[in-house]
């Protein structure tokens, strides 16, 4: 099978009326190294071909030569913006295979860490989306707030962005004394900034004109492309793994699942996906408040650590709701302490596949916004 076929394909179907533009790999707005080959007819996009692999770090191959705990830092780097949510399905999968029950306190800490990371991720998503549309200021407001969250994580796990915090059977370290107050403080700040940005950006007439009725993703197309997360919920489908396939202790919390309703445009457009993220930040704040109230203060977070992580021969597929959608790990164990195969089902990899479908017929300026509304991170696309 000749791989050179692809290179010929590009030029043989070239229609001389249309212009081929490369967006990326280096570009202020592709959120990473992604190359989009766009065929435009004047300003209207007629075809989009994504080329990826610039950030391929052969994660799956590397995992086969490392022990299970050694893999956890690599997992952080799949979706480097929300690393806590990455580690969770992996350790959950191993805990299920080895039949380990984690202490209560660990569950609460995991929930709080994951939800804080969800807020941090959505802050970046909305901020960069606004910047794509030309509004520079909300970007700085969100990054300022994100700093507070990163300071909490730094005190909790030792790192700002790539934590290596979750372990099989628990977490690596207990919370520090002022954790609860700092989290409540951060929540207050996040709520305040969100209210401000809603006024400044989200309900701004110009922003609505730019993002409503653009990149409409019907629910059945999203289902066929296996989209998940705010991309799926923006099309009106109320599906969230935290409620539909409850894992950990999410059944103890009272929170809502925001969906896109086509409030200012058509259901499933860019504005809907964005507003889903804004509302999800508020829901995460609610979850964190409840978790902090219910969390037991005593308990050893390292109590359930197994002596040796050697899962029995078998395989498992475990997924959890990350901020971008459901991130899944397929782990095949052959009884030794190194896995036989670890496959990471990257959310952004699947979400990105929808771009050629939903950007046809829109203008070139809209393509950038559509890409921003899908909220990809190249670490997940390429692994």
């Amino acid at each position: 099978m000749s791989d050179k076929k692809r290179l010929d394909l590009e030029y043989s179907t070239h229609d001389s009326d249309k212009m081929r533009i490369n967006v990326g790999p280096q570009h202020p707005s592709t959120h990473g190294v992604l190359r989009l080959e766009v065929e435009v007819d004047g300003e209207i996009v007629s075809e989009v071909i994504p080329h990826m692999g610039y950030l391929h770090r052969s994660f799956e191959k590397v995992c086969e030569s490392m022990t299970y705990p050694q893999i956890i830092p690599y997992i952080d780097r799949i979706d480097y913006i929300s690393a806590m949510n990455n580690e969770w399905p992996y350790v959950m999968a191993l805990e299920k295979m080895m039949d380990i029950k984690v202490p209560e306190k660990v569950e609460y800490i995991r929930v709080i860490a994951a939800e804080l990371n969800r807020i941090a991720n959505h802050q970046i998503a909305v901020a960069t989306f606004g910047m794509d549309a030309g509004a520079f200021t909300p970007f700085l407001y969100f990054f300022r707030d994100r700093e507070y969250i990163l300071w909490i994580f730094e005190k909790l796990s030792g790192a700002r962005l790539l934590y290596n915090y979750f372990r099989v059977g628990g977490v690596s370290g207990d919370i520090y004394p002022t954790f609860k107050d700092e989290c409540l403080d951060v929540i207050k700040k996040v709520r305040k900034t969100n209210a401000e940005v809603m006024d400044l950006l989200i309900y701004n007439r110009i922003f609505i004109q730019r993002t409503a009725k653009i990149g409409i993703l019907p629910a059945d197309v999203a289902l066929s492309y296996a989209c998940s997360g705010p991309v799926f919920r923006g099309s009106g489908v109320k599906y969230d793994l935290r409620k539909d396939e409850t894992y950990s202790i999410y059944d103890r919390f009272d929170f809502d699942i925001p969906v896109g309703k086509g409030e200012v445009g058509v259901k499933g457009d860019c504005w809907d996906r964005n507003i889903v993220r804004m509302h999800e930040m508020e829901q995460s704040c609610k979850i964190i408040e409840q978790a902090l109230a219910q969390m037991p203060m005593e308990g050893d977070v390292t109590a359930a650590f197994p002596k040796k992580i050697r899962p029995p021969k078998g395989e498992i597929y475990m997924r959890a709701e990350g901020p971008k959608g459901d991130l899944g790990f397929y782990i095949v164990s052959n009884g030794s302490d190194k896995p036989e195969r670890v496959k990471a089902r990257g959310t952004s990899f699947v979400n990105l596949s929808v771009i050629p479908e939903i950007s046809k017929g829109y203008m070139f300026a809209d393509l950038i916004l559509i890409l921003g509304s899908i909220d990809i991170v190249l670490g997940e696309v390429d692994r």
Partner: protein, 157 residues
């Protein structure tokens, strides 16, 4: 529906194409099917009123020594049940029918399985590499893969 019920239903419908049902703990139970009937079985799984597996969670390539395998993880939005399907093909002739017409998400997953594991999906509209460069030689995720010395005149360390 539980996986063994699904297995029984499929067995009555497709007979010999369903090779094996393996539910040894702590594995997820999986159904091994033959490559020839894969497309029809998947079509039934998606459209049959009892199954309605409309969400392909993941499609992975596997290196099984002398064979290559493909693992499908399916999910149903309505009934909220899951299923694991496996197919096996020999490495000398690693051809598996493509299911991208059934679940659009299979498109890129199959390209990745081809790229990294060398499984060729028949019927795919664009069977080319996706993560490695388009003119890369070899299938990196295989156990017997040797990293090439030179790529396009550059030394690969």
């Amino acid at each position: 529906m539980l996986p063994n019920e699904i297995y029984n239903n499929l067995k009555t419908e497709f007979g010999d194409a369903i090779i094996e049902y393996n539910d040894a703990q702590p594995t997820d139970p999986f159904i091994l099917i033959s490559t020839g009937m894969l497309f029809d079985i998947c079509h039934t799984l998606r459209d049959n009123e009892e199954f309605l597996f409309d969400y392909l969670m993941s499609l992975s390539g596997m290196d099984l020594g002398e064979n290559v395998g493909v693992v499908y993880h399916l999910y149903s939005m309505k009934y909220k049940h899951k299923l694991v399907l496996k197919v096996v093909a020999p490495k000398t002739d690693p051809k598996v029918p493509s299911v991208e017409m059934i679940w659009r998400s299979a498109d890129w997953h199959e390209r990745e399985a081809y790229d990294l594991m060398g499984v060729i999906f028949e019927g795919h509209h664009n069977m080319i590499r996706i993560l490695c460069p388009y003119d890369w030689e070899g299938f990196p995720l295989r156990k017997d893969y040797k990293v090439p010395e030179i790529y396009r005149g550059m030394k690969v360390s």
